[in-house]
Amino acid sequence: MLNFSCVKPIKTVYSVLEEHGAVDLLRDDLITMATKEIYSENRTRRDVQKEIKSKERAIERLAAAYARDGLSQEQVRQCIYSIGDNHAFLRANRDPCEKMIKYLKQYFHPTQAKDPLSSLAIRSGKGGARLSHDHSKQYAYVLQSLTLWREILHGMSIPTPCTLSCS
């Protein structure tokens, strides 16, 4: 109809690296350091600064080592940042699912509910509920839903660099 196609293949980190024969970047030992997320929770400022420094150093070293004709240091850096973004995505998206699963297991018992506060039972028609589950059934239902979400969100992203470089 248009005489041309609006669809163009996606440029991925892999396709860029492959084009320039720089795929080994992904197997480099430094890549873990260069793409890892730096947490600031419960840590001193000095520790965090130190880690940021070594991350930056790793990125620079990789950029220098894998840049070549047609693949600038800037492009290598962009590939590394891209992988880092994925870790950030996982942290923001998948980790809350894990935390929730942890809370569920920590604060509630799979089968026993001694008082109303510890009971997860719901009855259709009460409090807007449309399902009727006793405590243990609801516990399992929530657990499996959260597990499923975690798996889906994990499926939206890449395996960790570790699994990448090992296999």
Binding site: V13, Y139, L148
Partner: protein, 179 residues
């Protein structure tokens, strides 16, 4: 090589489903506005394998395991992806609040408030989590059982519905206090 094909699997599959020349789509009013209703066989297959994996990891499965795709609930692969990228918007604020409650209780005035209103810090946490685990997963949020209920994305609908009623809960102030 295969490793990188796995990358962003769902996104890649969703894109190829949406752009596929073999899968026709129809523009239809689904009750949630005008939508592109298009089947998504690849995304669907992947989703079934993820569901399968989750089912095996927890043992028994409760409720329906229907996955809506290309119907009036989830018209196409993009909306499917979008639904699941919202999860952190639901869970993250709850996690943040829960993790900040102990810090809140270190201020004497707030500790008194929590103790008087909820009994104890522990009870407060349990009340919030218990309510979410009960009513974030109770089949609410749609007008009939088939659309919400216990099917795979109906679970999400209920959680979403819970969030919209958050400001009516008595522990809403705690959410405000923890930002």
């Amino acid at each position: 090589m295969n490793l990188w094909l796995e990358m962003f699997q769902l996104w890649t599959l969703a894109e190829s489903d949406l752009l596929s020349e073999n899968i026709p789509y129809r523009l239809r009013d689904t009750g949630q506005g005008l939508n592109r209703v298009q089947a998504a066989p690849k995304t669907s297959r992947m989703m079934h394998s993820i569901l399968n994996k989750a089912q095996r990891s927890v043992g028994t499965w409760i409720g329906s395991s229907v996955i809506h795709m290309g119907d009036h609930n989830v018209p196409n692969a993009l909306l499917f992806i979008d639904k699941y990228t919202q999860i952190y918007r639901i869970l993250l604020p709850i996690c943040n609040t829960i993790s900040q409650i102990p810090g809140l209780a270190q201020k004497p005035a707030l500790k008194t408030y929590i103790d008087e209103e909820f009994g104890s810090v522990e009870n407060l946490v349990k009340e919030i989590l218990g309510d979410f685990f009960r009513h974030g997963f109770d089949g609410s949020g749609a007008d009939n059982f088939f659309d919400a209920g216990s099917c795979i994305d109906g679970r999400l609908t209920s959680a979403w519905n819970w969030c919209s009623s958050l400001e009516k809960k008595r522990y809403f102030h705690v959410f405000l206090l923890t930002g």
